[in-house]
Assembly symmetry: C2
């Protein structure tokens, strides 16, 4: 320990070899972690409670211990590594999820864990014992890619996961959730024990999974809020008819009606401007035959914004417009909203503190929102929460081609060190 001899600024303003070393170390650790679940298609498949997942968590536990952290699993398999503070009643938490999508990349989730361990390692090495506990967590699950359930890790930490939500679900091979959990050596949380009340802040570092930082040539994003979203399935019923024998005037063409709705929805979204986004990602046509006028068209809409009112106002206009088009085309349209998630603002105090750190240490950052969901949205309602982003090459994520420049990975770790120092070492 070189307490006193080193300053935070020495790390944060590190250039040349020192920064290169941090970049290299971060990238190397991500490669190493990506080895657990490396799949034949060049990606990472590390699904909840799989062998690859168990091996990965155990390896992370060993690494945490090697760095001098107190490592332990909770009942469901979230892995914590603690740098104990003088005051053990208060904990500053960082980290992210260890699971991946099928054939995912090496950065999504994993980067937040690696950055967390490295940050604790440097903080411990240079500043010794913090005032409060600083803890890194490798959360069990966020993606919902093995079982039809998301945020199993974070929801168990804050106590919002319900036993009955997973008791009857199975994976794509029919393996029950409970059986997979038990085989991995874990079980349900003892709900009678209540939830942790030592958590004073949560800071998650994550790859952006978008291309805003890349496009704007920024190394770090300080997230002020996570978008809310509404998702819809729209089912248009017209009349299937022979493509040759049905004059245009006789038709009730579901695809024609759907296409007009899609054009208007996307046009309206462009007019609404950032941060509103609307996406028609999925279309199914019936009978979907070249020479049959389609009798049915089903499509999805995904609308997001950081402001709930903006979502409500946009989707009301959108729905009204779809109903008008439906009438004009004399088709039946059923609009089903099956997701309505509120935007989640990050904690203003933590965000400002992080921004101040970024400024003081000359980081090339941007205040921005997150268009994707993250564990942070589960924490935010109960713990002061903030997020840091680093750029994703071409915005690519959930794909083996996920990539972030090592130099940017290091900038993210530096930003996290700054944040944790502010939160964990200062009065």
């Amino acid at each position: 320990m070189r307490k006193g001899r080193w300053k935070l600024g020495n790390i944060l303003k590190a250039t040349g070899k020192q920064l290169d070393a941090l970049a290299e170390e971060t990238a190397q650790k991500l490669d190493w972690l990506g080895g657990f679940g490396k799949d034949s298609e060049g990606g990472v498949s590390r699904l909840l409670y799989s062998k690859e997942w168990v091996d990965g968590q155990n390896a992370l536990k060993e690494w945490m211990e090697n760095e001098g952290l107190e490592a332990r699993f909770d009942e469901v398999g979230n892995l914590f590594g603690t740098l104990q503070g003088k005051n053990t009643d208060e904990t500053i938490l960082t980290g992210s999820h260890v699971d991946t999508v099928k054939n995912g990349g090496r950065y999504d989730g994993a980067y937040g864990i690696v950055a967390g361990i490295l940050a604790l390692k440097y903080l411990k090495e240079q500043f010794g014992q913090p005032l409060r506990n600083i803890e890194v967590v490798s959360m069990a699950e966020e993606e919902g890619s093995r079982f039809p359930y998301t945020f199993w890790g974070s929801k168990n930490i804050v106590g919002s996961a319900k036993r009955e939500d997973v008791e009857t679900i199975t994976d794509f091979d029919g393996v029950p959730f409970v059986e997979a959990m038990s085989n991995a050596g874990f079980g349900f949380r003892d709900e009678s024990k209540g939830t942790r009340n030592d958590l004073k802040a949560f800071v998650e570092v994550h790859v952006e999974q978008g291309s805003v930082l890349e496009t704007e040539k920024k190394s770090v994003g300080v997230v002020h809020s996570i978008v809310g979203q509404r998702r819809y399935t729209v089912e248009i019923t017209g009349e299937a008819n022979h493509a040759g024998t049905t004059p245009m005037g006789y038709r009730k063409d579901a695809v024609f009606a759907a296409s007009q709705m899609i054009v208007e929805i996307i046009t309206m979204a462009k007019e609404a401007g950032d941060p509103l986004v609307a996406t028609v990602g999925k279309i199914e046509v019936q009978p979907n035959i070249v020479n049959v006028v389609p009798g049915k068209a089903i499509f999805t809409i995904d609308v997001r914004h950081t402001d709930k009112e903006a979502i409500v106002s946009f989707t009301e206009k959108m729905t009204a417009r779809m109903n008008d088009i439906s009438k004009e085309h004399v088709v039946e349209t059923a609009i089903d909203m099956w997701m309505d998630a509120d935007p989640v603002p990050m904690d203003q105090t933590v965000v400002e503190l992080i921004e101040k750190q970024c400024k003081e240490n000359g980081l090339n950052y941007k205040l921005m929102h997150s268009g994707a969901g993250h564990d942070s949205q589960i924490f935010a309602p109960v713990v002061p929460t903030a997020m840091l982003f680093v750029p994703s090459l071409k915005g690519i994520s959930h794909n083996p081609a996920e990539f972030t420049e090592p130099a940017d990975l290091a900038e993210g770790v530096k930003a996290l060190i700054g944040a944790l120092y502010e939160l964990g070492y200062k009065e």
Copy 2:
């Protein structure tokens, strides 16, 4: 035989019991024929060279023989029943195809065979031997529903079927065409023998498979031409992106571009007016996930018109417009025309003769085009050809719900009797 005592007009102007009897007889025969290949879903599946097909053809042969026709199969399995004329060098042919689509109806194809046999039965009974041969054919295949080949029956009659077209094809179960044909007791046509030169006219009766006659409350359609058609596959390549993290301005949304093209194509087709039709029947989106901006959209276009120039002019405009939209959206668009079939006019003389008969006999008919393909289009280039339609309930076809009112079935048979009388009995 009651030659001389009965007049054509007695049949054609038949009302009350006589017409009811013909209606009932036609409907009953269609029920009977539909029993060969009756499937568990309430439809008819009588695929080329299947057991149901063989049984159906053999039963038809027996019926033809019972009606005093000379019945025989050709080499590939087309079944002919001849009412021999005084001059055996000239033959007037009628009939249609005996095969069905999978889970098809009882009328498509079958009606033309049943109407043909009934017409010959009444002509023979009431007018005796014709001047020329009048022949009814139950053609082996038209639909292409078992093997990827259409019009096998008619193409063998006119000599345009090529051995090499079917030598390597198999059905959905992997059964080779040649093996299925051989198992059914048939083989290739002896091409050295050349083709028939006795055919002086072909008249096909068929259900409309559209709803024009029904809508206009007509019992019979006299077809003046079969539409030409062009078919396209359009593949738009944009960029797949995260639906939440990609601002609207960053997107290359293949579905947005496709939707705008579809709206414009259909709108242009409506503006062009009858008889032009354009259909986008099939759409495939990739990756087709609710929260991913689609990177690819593939759709088909089917354009038809009775006039080749109109097809060319419309599709040129359509293609130009798609390319413009593609540029506006900054996506890549590949437009592949994989079908370009010319319109097929029916023989003007035969059409006029049929129309005259319909007028004289007070039939409630309409001169119209066929928006669907039929065996007649194979005959038309080599034999003077015409077609008669009867209404299809709601335009439904290729479906167990295919239905034509028995009274209309009888009107179609009457129109055919008139046509064959003009062609077969008159100098």
